[in-house]
């Protein structure tokens, strides 16, 4: 969860002061000012964790819940590792 917060702050070049804010509030404020910034954040999360979010999960309410997002990222990473291992075994 700390890593996601860090991605949010860095990808959107938020002030250090903003980083003290709760994650949900930060995301709300960013979305209100610039909806494209949320997309930049998604791209940064995908790059940081080496995953691709599914279309159905590209939803503001989903992204706003940090614990749900963290669990989803973990699950995607595991799914990615499992399919990679299957590929190696298949070879």
């Amino acid at each position: 969860m700390v890593r996601i917060r860090k991605v949010l702050v860095e990808s959107l070049q938020l002030d250090v002061g903003d980083a003290e804010m709760p994650y949900e509030q930060m995301l709300e404020e960013v979305a209100t000012l610039d909806s494209i910034a949320i997309l930049e954040f998604v791209a940064a999360v995908e790059k940081e964790f080496g995953i691709k979010m599914e279309p159905g999960n590209l939803d503001f309410d989903f992204l706003r819940d940090l614990s749900v997002l963290a669990a989803y990222i973990e699950q995607r990473i595991e799914a990615g590792s499992a399919s990679e291992a299957e590929g190696i075994a298949g070879d």
Binding site: A31, T32, D34, S35, I36, I38, L39, E40, V42, A43, E54, P55, G56, L58, D59, F60, D61, L63
Partner: protein, 308 residues
């Protein structure tokens, strides 16, 4: 059918002429559209000429000011008259498609360039259909959805409007919003904070998204020459294309509900640049040129002559 708020003042009258016209449109005319064949319905559009003189002059002046080399000066009054006729037909077609049974009444006489759309879809990153505000676009999208090409439209939030009298504001304005919601189809409002995510979600699923590139500019804009003047264009579309990797296909929709013509152009050649500003700089000219050409080729179809 619109007068500005300043004309009406802060205390609007109980009923305005626009209230009366909207009442006729949303009730008796809508019922007539359900039962009358279009050959009887379309002649009603000629009534719009009664209020058209001023609008015709405005359109002619704006076409003239546009200084487009592609629009012959001696054709301007013909274009203005055709534009007004098309606008009236579009309002009648909106009535036709507002009924659930309407899809059976939509006729498409021509789809050109479908191979461009299929080629763009085959990449799997979704497709943005690049359009301008043409009279037939809305019903053409309904037709395309009905034949297996569902399209998510990006648009401005529907507003109540400021031309109503007090009675119209209370009774007709909500009815108008409900009517428009029914005919617009699947859409996302640019004012929604989750708008961009919904667009990218649809593209990522390989779907189609329609963006009117001549729409009212958003928060972040960039000026560029357009139809002989400088116009501000929203940069959001470039961010979406850059970050989603989707294809962009120009689409032109012409005609009326009894004979639509839908043309897809070749995919735009997107110049991939990593930085936001570089990406916009590299691609904006081609986007503007594409829509300018659409308007120059079919000036009588462009709804924005009135509002630019």
């Amino acid at each position: 059918m619109a007068a500005s708020e300043s004309e009406l003042g802060s205390h609007p009258p109980i009923v305005t002429v626009d209230d009366f016209l909207w009442f006729l449109y949303l009730y008796p005319l809508r019922v007539l559209a359900a039962i009358a064949p279009r050959r009887l319905l379309y002649p009603i559009s000629r009534l719009s000429r009664l209020r058209a003189r001023k609008r015709s002059e405005v359109v002619a002046r704006r076409v003239l000011n546009a200084e487009c080399t592609g629009i012959p000066k001696d054709q301007i009054s013909r274009i203005a008259a055709a534009f007004l006729a098309n606008s009236a037909i579009r309002m009648l077609d909106d009535l036709v498609v507002s009924w659930p049974s309407s899809l059976r009444r939509l006729r498409c006489s021509e789809i050109r360039g479908l191979e461009h759309l299929e080629q763009a879809r085959s990449a799997g990153n979704g497709v943005i259909l690049l359009t301008v505000h043409f009279c037939a676009t809305r019903i053409a999208k309904q037709y395309l959805s009905s034949v297996g090409y569902p399209i998510l439209t990006v648009r401005d939030e529907l507003r109540v409007g400021d031309w109503w009298g007090r009675l119209g504001r209370r009774m007709l304005a909500p009815r108008r919003i409900k009517f428009l919601n029914a005919i617009i189809g699947e859409c996302v409002y640019v004012q929604d904070r989750g708008c961009v995510l919904k667009i990218v979600g649809r593209l990522r699923a390989g779907g189609l998204v329609n963006i009117h590139f001549d729409g009212k500019a958003g928060a972040k804009t960039v000026p560029w020459p357009f139809l002989g003047t400088r116009r501000k264009f929203s940069t959001g579309i470039f961010d979406i294309v850059r970050l989603s990797g989707c294809a962009v296909v120009p689409m032109v929709c012409l005609g009326r509900s009894s004979g639509l013509r839908i043309h897809f152009g070749p995919m735009l050649d997107i110049v991939r640049k990593p930085g936001r500003d570089e990406f916009i700089e590299a691609n904006l000219p081609a986007f503007v040129e594409t829509i300018e050409q659409q308007i120059v080729n079919h000036p009588e179809e462009w709804e924005q002559w009135i509002s630019i």
